[in-house]
């Protein structure tokens, strides 16, 4: 069995998270600073901030939803012994190549208060899920889900079953084996899937457009706003923010590559 040789200087997870946050904040700070120096593009902040903050909230929420459901279903698919696991994974993977407008269409069918399913949902929860931020979150979460699912399944399948057996001989019940052994050992793959899922959620366009409605101020995420600003002066600021976000996503995809090795 190969042990990772960690030296005393290896960072633990908390320190790594802190380092990443610092880098991200620095990146944003430098980016905006550069924009300001470059010619006061930051003057358009009032126009840009709305979509930017909305995208930030939507992506984080969608990432959380897709992450938890993805890990849970990935665990079931990895450990389960029932037939049709691969078919289920295929269904869950549909949003990867399904046209975003198809996703949007079916989401509207299920969530719109005008339909049977959507009407029922709205009556039961007292909340409307279309043409507001919730709709954007749902659309983005659906886009991110398959990446989280597949990465989680692969990572969990890759955990040495001997370690799980050893944990069982220690007397740990199955749920503790999952939480304290399997998932921590799979954390790299899961994190990589989460990052690419968030990148995907950030860039979601078609489904968000249909379910959210591109309402200025309420559901106009950054990816929608970029298009609307194409002919206006604030497009360069939009561009800058997008590039920053893409850089963060890039780092995530880069991590993805390394965790595959």
């Amino acid at each position: 069995m190969k042990w990772e040789h960690k030296t005393g200087r290896d960072l633990d997870n908390k320190q790594k998270a802190a380092a990443v946050s610092v880098v991200v904040l620095l990146g944003f700070g430098l980016g905006f600073g550069a924009a300001h120096l470059l010619e006061g593009y930051i003057a358009y902040w009032d126009i840009v901030s709305g979509p930017f903050l909305l995208s930030l909230r939507v992506t984080l929420a969608a990432g959380a939803i897709a992450g938890t459901t993805g890990v849970a279903s990935g665990y079931v698919l990895a450990k389960g012994r029932f037939p049709g696991r691969d078919v289920l994974e295929t269904i869950g993977s549909l949003p990867i190549i399904l046209p975003p407008t198809v996703v949007g269409y079916y989401l509207l069918e299920v969530l719109s208060p005008g339909t049977r399913a959507g009407g029922f949902l709205t009556r039961v929860t007292g909340h409307v899920f279309v043409y507001n931020a919730s709709g954007c979150v749902i659309a983005a979460a659906v886009a991110a889900y398959p990446f989280c699912l597949r990465a989680a399944r692969t990572a969990i399948e890759g955990v040495d079953p001997l370690l799980e057996q050893a944990a069982r001989t220690m007397g740990l019940p199955n749920w503790r084996v999952a939480l304290q052994v399997t998932l921590p050992l799979a954390r790299r793959g899961i994190a990589a899937g989460l990052t690419i899922g968030c990148a995907r959620a950030l860039g979601e366009y078609g489904a968000t457009l249909m379910v959210g409605g591109d309402i200025n101020g309420k559901t106009r995420t950054l990816s929608l706003a970029v298009l609307d600003s194409f002919t206006t002066p604030e497009r360069d600021t939009m561009l800058l923010i997008l590039v920053l976000m893409a850089v963060i996503a890039m780092t995530g995809i880069g991590l993805l590559g390394r965790s595959r090795a």
Partner: protein, 235 residues
């Protein structure tokens, strides 16, 4: 493309023109895009898998950017570079006689950019996953690098390579944001995803249902085929 199959046949089969037109545009564009992507993507995937040069991962990350960017940005860049003044537009005019925005070829290029990362990553994983001992045996038998690659590596990696091409094709078929921006809503260049959006936007419920179902079936078929090809996992 609509000239390929006579309308009388379509009517007999029960396929209305508002399905067949965007479907044929989508298929045609995706087909052309996938041919380019398959060749270039597999070749680059091979280089990335086998090469020993610095910055391999960085190159793959850069080429994978379209997965992270909103497709509208990709389309936007294509629009400005192909339509606005600049070296690319000049090259286009020289090569094609006119800029490619709002045309079919523009759509193809948008789809190439969007689907390229999928083929690239699948091929790299597939080729890197070939047991090096097979290649070593081939070299020991005296086969040159070229012949080893062609006769040993590629055939052994074929499942992953096919999966990559299939995913790229599916992605090209399913592209919406980039295609829409590059093509506008010119009827000649309406793809299936755009047609569905129009149907929903203009309230043609029946049409929307059919268009969505067709695309769902196609995507499902592609994914099922890819999963049958086995466990090639670039993510």
């Amino acid at each position: 493309m609509t000239g390929l199959v006579p309308h009388s046949w379509l009517n007999w089969l029960g396929i209305p023109p508002w399905v067949w037109d965007p479907l044929s545009v989508s298929l045609h564009a995706a087909f052309e895009a996938t041919i380019v992507v398959a060749i270039v993507g597999s070749a680059l995937g091979f280089l990335l898998a086998k090469g020993r040069f610095l910055g391999r991962d960085a190159i793959e990350t850069v080429l994978s950017l379209p997965m992270a960017f909103p497709p509208t940005v990709v389309g936007w860049y294509l629009l400005t570079q192909m339509g606005g003044p600049g070296p690319i537009r000049n090259a286009e005019v020289r090569l094609f006689g006119h800029p490619l925005t709002f045309t079919f070829n523009g759509i193809v290029i948008a789809q190439i950019i969007e689907s390229f990362p999928y083929c690239l990553r699948f091929s790299r994983t597939a080729i890197a996953g070939v047991d090096p001992r097979f290649e070593q045996a081939a070299r020991a038998m005296g086969l040159s690098r070229w012949r080893t690659a062609l006769l040993v590596t590629l055939p052994l990696a074929r499942r992953g390579l096919v999966a990559g091409v299939a995913m790229a094709f599916g992605r090209a078929l399913g592209d919406f944001g980039a295609t829409m921006i590059v093509a506008g809503s010119v009827p000649m260049a309406t793809t299936m995803p755009i047609a569905l959006y129009n149907a929903v936007f203009y309230g043609s419920h029946e049409q929307a249902m059919v268009l969505a179902l067709v695309q769902l079936a196609v995507a499902f078929a592609i994914l099922l085929g890819v999963s049958r090809l086995g466990k090639v996992r670039p993510w």
